[in-house]
């Protein structure tokens, strides 16, 4: 009985043992399968997740390339600066933190707005570094580091700040950089990296891709609590390329100063008369903080605004390209305050306007070479054709006056250019017609854009019959031809176009185009100018007479060197119409008119006359007459350039 029982028990035990073992095998099998599934089949997925846990990825902005002038002087470079960075993670109370920090140092509102927007842009809740501000002073750093224990999530980081050592002298050319915003259309696919500066204007904008360099990448190893325990840079940054421009900064600085001074004097503010004037008028523009410009009557005057451009007639490189008043690009990198911005924007002299490329002016008498060339090329006149100037040309119902009230008498083309006789050119214009003049002006580079390395530029206006019909739906009148013949009326040019025109005349062979860059392979071919060499030679001779001739409009402003002399053409542009009545009364002197109604003073020229090398254009806004104001500036710039 007992044995039997025992046997039955043994059987039950064995059966149940194997049943349970079967269950156990199933369990172990499914666990093993689970591991196979996790570790082998879905390995990649979990590897990615593990990497996301382990690392936070960052992009490191590269150091921006420099901008250098032709003698390797710095136009735009980088300076070390301290940035304030928030090591964000979920547990940070951002508002309280920022409040604390802003109790200690001043944080610009613009920076704060940018900070909050980048805070809200983040895609996930991974810890991140977010830039608060880039513009910490040494003082701020010291103040904050003392109390750093209160906000361990905030760290300093050394970063690069764009700096423009030339300040406002070259502000229009260098432009400036700013934080990338959605408005910036980048021509390459770039991640909008927080803290990335992109060119906003000028050369910075044009060469943005070259200057920017290549991004680096780094990853921080972080614990589950967000503490960074290691930083690995696994892709080094590449510093952006340096850009060498053709400018000569010493000439640029000289030309700017010379333009702004004009024919005025520099007087110390210690002067008693000046002190009195400063007391009455608070809006005085100082020079180097201690001086002011004064006119002959010892009255404080504003610096002249306008443009001076010097261009190499052989390769089109610009040696100086001044636009006054300038603006200091450094104020943009320091974070522009509302005040500074509105002052720049609302300033009546428009310092943000790059006058040399975007400013348009009627060319006045400086256009006369183009009219003369059009006449010569069409064969309507020869070198000896003479017209008589009586001081006024009666045409249809109107009187068209010459600048010389009593007329120039009988003169030929060379004399007409030398003395800038208006009546001669009225006659010429009538004979040639506006369309032929327009063709010649286009040949000489007016009314068109150039491939210059600055985006802000203007086309200007070269009118012709079709243009007028298309714009106004009205036929062109002969009166308008008369105006156009002396560079008034519809015609508008930029200083850059004027210097290009002179360059082409001086070069005579090629249609030179302006450029700001020193090209390594200098064999860039210009198109042929396609104007009769003899005619050009004659025009150049006439331009020489403007300076050297006994009656030349710029005869007072010879360089006076045996080696080097300049040739050129003056221009005085009326900005308001003078009625017959006013003319009867006698003209009001330029200086006595309100600034906005004064004439523009222009001068275009080249030097040396023996073998032209450099062309110049000087535009002094409301500066007076070309011969008395613009020509001496051109002379002095040439003197500086040739070291005379």
């Amino acid at each position: 009985m007992k044995n039997n029982n025992q046997k039955i028990l043994e059987q039950t035990l064995t059966r149940r043992f194997f049943f349970l073992s079967f269950l156990k095998t199933l369990v172990v099998g499914s666990i093993s399968w689970r591991f196979f599934d996790l570790q082998i089949i879905e390995n990649q997925k979990y590897k990615k997740l593990s990497n996301q846990n382990q690392f936070n990825y960052f992009v490191i902005p590269p150091e921006r390339g420099r901008i250098l002038d032709r003698k390797m002087r710095l136009l735009a470079g980088n300076m070390d600066s301290f940035s304030l960075v928030l090591n964000w993670n979920e547990s940070v109370n951002v508002k309280a933190l920022i409040y604390k920090v802003s109790q200690i140092i001043y944080i610009d509102k613009k920076d704060l707005n940018r900070f909050y927007s980048s805070l809200s842009e983040k895609k996930n809740n991974n810890p991140k570094e977010i830039l608060i501000t880039k513009n910490l002073s040494q003082k701020d750093v010291a103040k904050l580091s003392i109390r750093n224990v209160e906000f361990p999530e905030i760290t300093f980081s050394m970063s690069k700040k764009r700096v423009y050592p030339q300040g406002k002298i070259a502000g229009h050319l260098t432009g400036y950089t700013g934080v990338f915003s959605k408005l910036d259309k980048l021509n390459d696919k770039v991640v909008a990296v927080p803290g990335l500066d992109v060119g906003k204007r000028g050369l910075e904008k044009f060469f943005d891709t070259d200057l920017r360099g290549k991004f680096g990448r780094k990853r921080n190893e972080v614990t589950s609590k967000g503490h960074v325990i290691d930083t690995q840079i696994y892709e080094q940054t590449t510093t952006g390329e340096d850009i060498q421009v053709s400018l000569d900064m010493s000439l640029q600085a000289f030309a700017m100063q010379r333009l702004e001074m004009g024919n005025n004097n520099v007087t110390s503010i210690e002067n008693k008369v000046i002190k009195k004037q400063i007391k009455v008028n608070e809006k005085v523009t100082y020079i180097d903080n201690n001086f002011v410009y004064t006119n002959k009557a010892n009255k404080i005057v504003n610096p002249h605004s306008g443009s001076v451009i010097v261009m190499d007639v052989e390769n089109g490189q610009l040696l100086c390209c001044v636009s006054s008043p300038g603006f200091n690009p450094n104020i943009f990198t320091n974070g522009l305050s509302e005040n500074e911005w509105s002052e720049l924007k609302n300033n009546t002299r428009a310092p943000l306007l790059n006058r040399s490329m975007s400013g348009v002016y009627p060319p006045g008498s400086t256009i006369k070479m183009a009219v003369a060339l059009a006449a010569l090329e069409s064969g309507i006149i020869n070198y000896d054709t003479k017209f008589k100037c009586t001081g006024v040309k009666k045409f249809e119902t109107s009187n068209f006056h010459c600048w010389a009230k009593n007329g120039h008498g009988n003169l030929n083309l060379m004399q007409a250019i030398e003395q800038s006789c208006d009546v001669f050119f009225y006659e010429l214009g009538l004979k040639v017609g506006i369309d032929k003049i327009a063709i010649m002006m286009k040949k000489l580079g007016l009314g068109q854009y150039y491939n210059i390395e600055i985006d802000e530029k203007t086309k200007g206006v070269v009118p012709n019959i079709k243009w007028k019909l298309q714009r106004d739906g009205v036929n062109w009148t002969y009166g308008e031809t008369l105006n156009a013949s002396i560079g008034q009326g519809y015609i508008l040019t930029t200083p850059l176009q004027l210097v290009t025109m002179v360059s082409r005349i001086a070069n005579s062979k090629y249609a030179i185009n302006p450029s700001l860059i020193i090209k390594k392979n200098n064999n860039k071919k210009f198109n042929n100018l396609d104007i009769n060499q003899k005619h050009l030679k004659f025009i150049k001779k006439s331009m020489e007479e403007v300076v050297l001739g006994k009656k030349g409009t710029a005869k007072k402003h010879k360089i006076g060197s045996k080696r080097i002399e300049m040739a050129g053409k003056t221009g005085t542009v009326q900005v308001v119409r003078i009625t017959e009545e006013e003319r009867e009364k006698g003209l009001i002197k330029n200086e006595d008119r309100p600034w906005k109604k004064r004439d523009h003073a222009l001068f275009v020229g080249y030097a040396p006359i023996s073998k032209p090398k450099y062309a110049i254009s000087v535009v002094v806004e409301h500066g007076g007459s070309g011969s008395s104001v613009a020509a001496p500036i051109a002379r002095d710039v040439f003197k500086n350039l040739f070291k005379i």
């Binding site: 349970l20 689970r34 591991f35 390995n43 997925k45 979990y46 997740l49 589950s224």
Partner: protein, 374 residues
């Protein structure tokens, strides 16, 4: 069959020792030491390549435990038979004591002479002994009478209920599953098995209501880890990431990023297998599971060669205990089972569990050594 006949061998003691020594199942010993050393290595890695705080004391405990295991292996099983009741009562007493005077936010430990002891771990083995002793008197038991199960079920439910209420769901479940599996093993008639299963299923809602919030939460989160990716589900998600990212051969010893950067919770206790899987990969994980299987099978084999039901139940119970520990722990870390909190035997840090396992295996070895002396 009882061990009341007091018949000792008259042989020379050294000789006896030597014969006993040769009878030890060395495969089991080897598996135990191998797994213990794996534990030391894993704990060294868990501390970021440091002997402190875990690896060193685990090694010391392992050495003491293995020595203890050998000593027990030489003791005749009838000695354990005598100790059964007292150990069970002691276990129960300490559980009750822990319930009222335990340390820690969850009452699991009692401190005796500076040592933290977790009586619930020890209780598992005491239960095995108690059930083994009960079924050893099989001749007096009628399996077809429901009343026969009343006493063993009391044996199971009382410690199980106390442990679950500590609250320690994992250990409590192991105790209950272990007890019922032994009942099944010794031959409960299938009629009652079905009745029990039905009762069990119908009692689920009642049990659910009596679970602590954190326990309910764990089960809910287990069913849907994404429900709470930063709270309870965080452990499962991070553990799965760690295991999955290990790949075939792992990230390398000491190089597991998930554990090194503290993404793994309780990497030295419940989630130590995650750490091993991350650093040693599928390959390493399988070697450890295989070693456990060898250990369990070796123990199970012994149950066929022993005569008494007391020995059979103990051997079966110990094998099952190791199996339950293993599957509950590994199933938990890979997201197959809810996070109930069960250590991995021999590898997880924790003295009581380690000693319980080593003592149980010592008893199994002893049964094997003395099987022909019955």
């Amino acid at each position: 069959m009882n061990y009341k006949s007091n018949k000792f061998s008259t042989d020379n003691p050294t000789n006896i020792l030597l014969t006993k020594f040769l009878k030890i199942n060395w495969l089991i010993v080897l598996c135990v030491i191998f797994l213990g050393l794996i534990g030391v290595a894993a704990l060294y890695s868990a501390a970021g390549g440091n002997w402190n705080p875990w690896a060193k004391s685990h090694l010391i405990r392992l050495i003491i435990g293995v020595v203890l295991m050998f000593i027990i292996a030489f003791i005749h099983p009838k000695f354990f038979y005598k100790l059964t009741l007292i150990s069970f009562l002691l276990g129960l007493l300490s559980l009750v004591f822990v319930k009222f005077f335990g340390v820690g936010s969850v009452q699991r430990w009692i401190t005796i002479g500076g040592l933290n002891i977790q009586p619930s771990e020890f209780m598992k083995f005491a239960l095995i002994l108690m059930l083994a002793k009960y079924f050893d008197q099989l001749s007096k038991i009628n399996f077809n009478r429901l009343f026969s199960y009343f006493i063993p079920i009391i044996y199971i439910i009382i410690p199980g209920w106390i442990v679950i209420s500590q609250p320690d769901l994992g250990t409590g479940l192991i105790i209950i599953i272990l007890g019922f599996a032994i009942l099944f093993y010794v031959g409960v008639s299938l009629k009652f098995v079905f009745i029990f299963l039905l009762t069990f299923i119908s009692s689920v809602p009642i049990v659910w209501q009596n679970l602590y919030d954190y326990q309910k939460n764990r089960i809910l989160v287990f069913l849907n880890p994404e429900m709470d990716s930063l709270g309870s589900g965080y452990q499962i998600i991070q553990s799965k990431i760690a295991i999955g990212s290990g790949g075939v051969f792992g990230k390398g010893y000491l190089l597991g990023s998930q554990s090194r950067l503290n993404y793994l919770p309780e990497k030295h206790t419940d989630f130590i297998f995650t750490l091993i899987s991350e650093e040693l990969g599928f390959f390493g994980a399988m070697i450890i599971i295989l070693t456990f299987c060898i250990l369990i099978v070796s123990i199970a084999k012994i149950s066929f060669s022993v005569e008494t039901l007391f020995s059979k139940v103990i051997v079966f119970g110990v094998g099952l205990l190791i199996f339950l520990y293993l599957t509950l722990n590994i199933g938990m870390v890979c997201g197959l089972l809810p996070v109930v909190g069960a250590p991995l035997p021999l590898i997880s840090y924790g003295g009581t569990a380690l000693f319980t396992i080593l003592i149980s295996i010592g008893v199994v070895l002893s049964i094997n050594v003395h099987k022909n002396e019955e």
